[in-house]
Symmetry: C2
Subunit: 133 residues, 2 copies
DNA sequence: ATTATTATTGCAACTTGGTTGCATTATGAC
DNA sequence: GTCATAATGCAACCAAGTTGCAATAATAAT
């Protein structure tokens, strides 16, 4: 965490652990309830999460119901220069999975000549996740 | 509008006109300010928009700052059975364009064998739109 | 055309997810 | 250990969207 320019605090250690243990992106509420005893102010959690995002440790995903989910960056993104990955939204459990899915080559082609200059892209899939069928 | 099972009202006519005239998806606020004199209750506008969505006349797109934009369905979707289209988000003007971009074949392949059952998908591009460069 | 049925509208109050200001406390450089 | 600076907790706040309900307008029935 030092290497990201962040002071090591109690709150950050707890939240980082929780994010590391999760297969899916987590909401503010998800994280709060996973904190034993709930002993963490909600504002502190908001600020902890955005410190992770600013430091480049995590990223956030907007959901359909106007909330943010947070997840650590994928290992692929750490090592190589992969910026964009896909997300899978489960219709049943509402979970959002980060998928190390390379979509680069898909991007430019279709609207190449239309005056849109593409810099990045997100591919979002919906359906049923492995643990829901 | 009758054909969609909706009563023809003043509010709906106004909002439908505004949506038809726009190249990009519009926010609640965008639409309110486009209404001459502002003479439309904010709740009525919310309900007008969701009546359009429920009736199958329009659709909504979630933005990064957790609000909804609304746009009429593309003509392609009306005629054929095209369900999903792509969106282009301009970094500069923040506008969101609906793109008649067929992404069907891209969907299934990469995570086919992973236990995810894909039902629909959205492809979101970011960059600079034609009127911003 | 008049009336009756039913959906739509407007207003006020409310909910929810998240932010801001500020005094207190903890971290890490020295 | 001392000190500068950043993180925390608390209360108040904000903005997008929702709900309840009485008044009103659109259409169907007569
Ligand atoms: Mn992700
Ligand atoms: Mn669209
Ligand atoms: Zn699931
Ligand atoms: Zn633009």
């Amino acid at each position: 965490m030092h290497q990201y320019g962040l002071k090591v605090t109690n709150a950050r250690i707890k939240v980082l652990r929780i994010l590391m243990q999760s297969q899916v992106a987590l909401s503010h509420g998800d994280i709060l309830t996973r904190i034993h005893g709930n002993e963490l102010d909600k504002v502190t959690l908001y600020r902890t999460l955005s410190s992770f995002v600013n430091a480049g440790l995590a990223h956030k995903v907007a959901t359909e119901d106007r909330t943010w989910l947070h997840a650590l960056h994928l290992p692929e993104e750490r090592n190589e220069g992969v910026e964009d990955h896909a997300h899978f939204v489960c219709d049943t459990c509402e979970c959002i999975y980060c998928l190390p899915l390379v979509t680069e080559d898909m991007a430019a082609i279709p609207i190449k000549e239309s005056g849109f200059q593409i810099k990045s892209h997100e591919y979002r899939l919906r359906g049923t996740c492995p643990s829901c069928h």
